[in-house]
């Protein structure tokens, strides 16, 4: 396990493993309340990492600090480092707009714009001044999101004409259209039925070839199905979330090193 190796060896491993995102001793506060306490998670390129843990343990908070969405909450404050491709997202010169362009996010509830299917996907490229063939980019993104065949004849229809599962895949297509290097997903299936959920999970598998994904889920089976690595978070008495264990998903589910992980996995609490 990583924790038992020396610091140097950790660094060596990170290079070897091509770490795209390195969360180091990250704490997030809302005013005086510490929601996340000293979490360290290295994320390897082209892997899917899932964050699991009881409700309120700071999973969303942690995720939103990875693309600086927490900047929108005036009281939110961050300590520690988030190295993305080697650059600290919270360095003084870091530009949140640029970061959000490179780190995409898919939300819990599908949130398409009240615009056409086409305009939803084209939104990101347009604001980023995309100069190429927009039609092709939109098609490519919808294909990657496994939605193209269902919508190719009605690109001008309102996004609200789609079902919930289709809307969520549209939101994924919209995120893919700006070609992010990392995609964050916050319980992307929690508002969907089981069939739509499976479609999204399939999609995550396919996206893995080109993207790196960090996904929050409260569904442990889902974590088991989609992710390569799993981080189990818990919260202590003053509700500050901390990392209990981070390891290969297989390992977490079959041979957890921590008693608390084992209890959670086997459904004894949470």
């Amino acid at each position: 396990m990583i924790m038992t190796t020396t610091a140097q060896k950790v660094e060596a491993e990170k290079v070897e493993k091509d770490i795209i995102l390195d969360i180091q001793e990250l704490s997030v506060y809302y005013g005086k309340f510490r929601a996340v306490n000293g979490v360290s998670i290295p994320v390897e390129r082209h892997k899917v990492v899932s964050l699991i843990g009881p409700s309120g343990c700071g999973k969303s908070t942690l995720l939103r600090s990875l693309n600086r969405m927490n900047d929108l909450i005036p009281t939110a404050r961050v300590e520690g480092k988030v190295l993305f491709q080697g650059e600290d997202l919270y360095a003084p010169g870091a530009d949140p707009i640029d970061i959000r362009f490179r780190v995409g996010m898919v939300f819990q509830k599908p949130n398409p714009f009240p615009k056409s299917i086409y305009d939803n996907v084209a939104f990101g490229p347009r604001i980023n001044g995309f100069k190429g063939k927009l039609d092709d980019l939109v098609e490519e993104s919808l294909r990657q999101a496994a939605l193209w065949d269902e919508v190719k004849d009605r690109l001008k229809d309102s996004a609200y004409a789609l079902s919930g599962g289709q809307q969520q895949r549209l939101c994924i297509a919209r995120t893919l259209a700006v070609r992010p290097e990392l995609i964050l997903m916050d319980e992307p299936c929690s508002a969907l039925d089981p069939i739509a959920t499976l479609a999204i999970e399939d999609l995550i598998h396919q996206l893995q070839e080109q993207y790196t994904i960090v996904i929050v889920t409260h569904n442990m089976q889902q974590a088991g199905r989609v992710s390569d690595y799993t981080a189990f978070m818990n919260m202590d008495a003053d509700r500050a979330g901390y990392l209990v264990e981070y390891d290969a998903t297989q390992q977490i589910f079959t041979n957890p090193q921590d008693k608390r992980t084992e209890d959670y996995i086997s459904g004894r609490f949470g």
């Binding site: 995409g104 714009f113 995120t175």
Partner: protein
């Protein structure tokens, strides 16, 4: 741990009400009914009188002349009954006021809804609404005694009574109407849509212009239309500052007369009841009523569409 419940009979007894409370309820109910009827009846009465007097007017003045004659001189010996000069005066002043109120009001709404910190907003929004509470007569004299002299130095040849001055001041007066209603429409846009845009690397400005305003467009439109009908119906400012000369002109620096100002003018005079001059105010009133009614119908339609905008 069982909770001992009271017997049903005991509950029923506790709920049975005294004769007095039932009587009070009966009286209150009738009283509310009467109040409702008073307001409905008043509206009905106004419409009825308006209709009767307007009909009487149009028995003497042909509808065609009313809509095509370019002069409005019912109080002169050479009488003309063309509504156009009053209509143009009304639209000129109201249009000018909208020109002032829409951009400022909309920008204020954008600031309040998208940029202002909670505390600033808590102070600024009610402060803006106070603007709407200032008596209009104050605005009227502000226009005549403060704005007009400035206009006269800026634009030589500006008449003492002019449309521009009334427009500017009326525009200031109705800014809160635009900003408050538009801000409501923008604040109603779900936060999740803003987050979606920001997560794609949109700036706050891009989010506002490309997501929030389009999503709130119908509500903003409705605020514009409501404001327009308020501007058309405004009386005191125009009566004081815009003048009493029905003139078919588009020059805002000339004196004009609006429909409302004309009604004031005749009402204040000693026009005998039942005379044609007297009936003109009802004809103009009806025209004004129809104009604002149409605007409100349009506005209602827009608001209805607004509800279908986002989920």
């Amino acid at each position: 741990m069982t909770v001992s419940l009271p017997a049903p009979a005991a509950v029923r007894r506790a709920r049975s009400r005294s004769l007095l409370s039932r009587a009070t309820e009966w009286v209150v109910e009738r009283l509310l009914l009467v109040c409702a009827f008073v307001s409905i009846g008043t509206t009905f009465g106004i419409v009825a009188i308006l209709g009767v007097e307007t009909l009487a007017f149009f028995q003497q003045v042909p509808l065609f002349a009313f809509f095509t004659d370019t002069q409005w001189t019912p109080l002169f010996s050479d009488k003309h009954y063309g509504i156009l000069p009053l209509l143009s005066g009304t639209l000129l002043v109201a249009g000018g006021a909208m020109l002032v109120a829409l951009p400022v009001g909309l920008l204020a709404a954008v600031y309040l809804s998208e940029y202002a910190p909670v505390r600033v907003r808590a102070v600024l929004k009610p402060a803006l609404e106070v603007l709407a509470g200032v008596p209009t007569v104050v605005y009227g004299y502000f226009a005549l005694l403060f704005v007009t002299p400035i206009l006269q130095t800026l634009v030589p040849g500006t008449e003492v009574f002019n449309a521009a001055s009334a427009s500017i001041v009326m525009g200031i007066m109705i800014i809160p109407l635009v900003s408050s209603l538009s801000e409501d429409a923008m604040s109603a846009v779900p936060r999740s849509l803003r987050e979606a845009a920001l997560a794609l690397g949109a700036t706050r400005q891009e989010t506002t212009v490309k997501v929030v305003i389009p999503a709130a467009a119908s509500g903003i439109m409705a605020s514009f239309i409501l404001t327009a009908s308020r501007a058309i119906g405004e009386t005191m400012i125009v009566a004081i500052a815009a003048g009493l000369q029905p003139k078919l002109t588009l020059n805002p620096f000339e004196s004009v007369e609006t429909m409302t100002a004309y009604i004031v003018q005749v009402s204040l005079g000693d026009t005998p009841h039942g005379s044609l001059e007297y009936q003109t105010i009802f004809a103009v009133g009806t025209a004004l009523f129809v104009l604002t009614f149409l605007l409100n119908v349009v506005s209602l339609g827009v608001v209805r569409r607004f509800r279908e905008q986002y989920q």
